[in-house]
């Protein structure tokens, strides 16, 4: 994901479990606008797509976000090439 052909602002998004089903996609690569610098601003920007995005990513909904396989917080910064995963609270074990 960090190869030379990747523009510096490209993120890989991964949607899991119920979010994958409601969004109808498992993964996408995207180039967010400059104001998307953190996990929280990415979530707000994705919610603005409307429809299922607006519903599932509404502030009141429990959504977990991981950056490069580590659970992130709203203020976790994003960098070019990051893999950002969005998923519901986990239910394993």
């Amino acid at each position: 994901m960090r190869d030379a052909a990747t523009p510096p602002t490209t993120l890989t998004l991964v949607y899991l479990a119920r979010l994958r089903e409601t969004f109808g996609t498992a993964t996408e690569r995207l180039e967010p606008p400059p104001e998307v610098t953190t996990v929280a601003t990415l979530r707000t920007w994705l919610a603005a797509r409307g429809g299922a995005w607006s519903t599932e990513l509404a502030p009141a909904r429990a959504v977990r976000i991981a950056v490069n396989h580590e659970l992130a917080r709203p203020d976790t910064p994003l960098h070019a090439g990051d893999e950002v995963a969005l998923f519901p609270p986990v239910t394993g074990g």
Binding site: V14, R18, A62, E70, A85, P88, V90, T91, G92, G93
Partner: protein, 156 residues
């Protein structure tokens, strides 16, 4: 510190024997096995599918095991978690912890499964008579995990 995600079943005796090795310092083995129940939230369950997030799962489980090792005086720990389709009475997860003494082994084992339940990226989807549904997280699991944070000493 073995951590594994697999579709196949596991043999508890063989896994715990491998964890113990021939280490004569081990005096206590605490273990937990999670199994599929046929009823969840008042609905009967025919089968379930377990999904995970490859790459993150192994990292999350290894992190939880490392945390347990830093908190308690244990010798080794093991986590095996199955994914894919499972049916009632199937084994889902095995947590095993070895130590010189039982108190630390029990605490670390309970900590690992509590943290796994709230931090490792697994999701269960159940097939019930009313159709397919994603399992909702339990508040009791959050409470169980919260026992281990602040104060620094776990609530034993």
């Amino acid at each position: 510190m073995p951590v594994r995600v697999q579709t196949t079943d596991f043999d508890v005796s063989a896994e715990l024997a491998a964890l113990r090795g021939a280490d004569p310092r081990v005096g206590a083995v605490a273990a937990f096995i999670g199994t599929v129940r046929d009823v969840n939230d008042a609905a009967s369950v025919a089968t379930m599918t377990l999904e995970h997030y490859p790459g993150m799962t192994e990292k999350a489980l290894a992190g939880i095991v490392d945390e347990a090792k830093s908190r308690w005086d244990i010798i080794d720990a093991l986590v095996i978690h199955r994914v894919g389709e499972l049916k009632p009475t199937d084994q889902i997860v095995l947590v095993g912890v070895t130590g010189a003494h039982r108190g630390e082994a029990f605490a670390a084992c309970e900590f690992i499964i509590d943290y796994l339940k709230t931090r490792a990226p697994f999701w269960k989807k159940e097939v019930t008579p009313d159709g397919t549904r994603w399992v909702e997280p339990r508040a009791s699991d959050d409470d169980a995990a919260a026992r281990w944070t602040a104060p620094a000493e776990p609530p034993r």
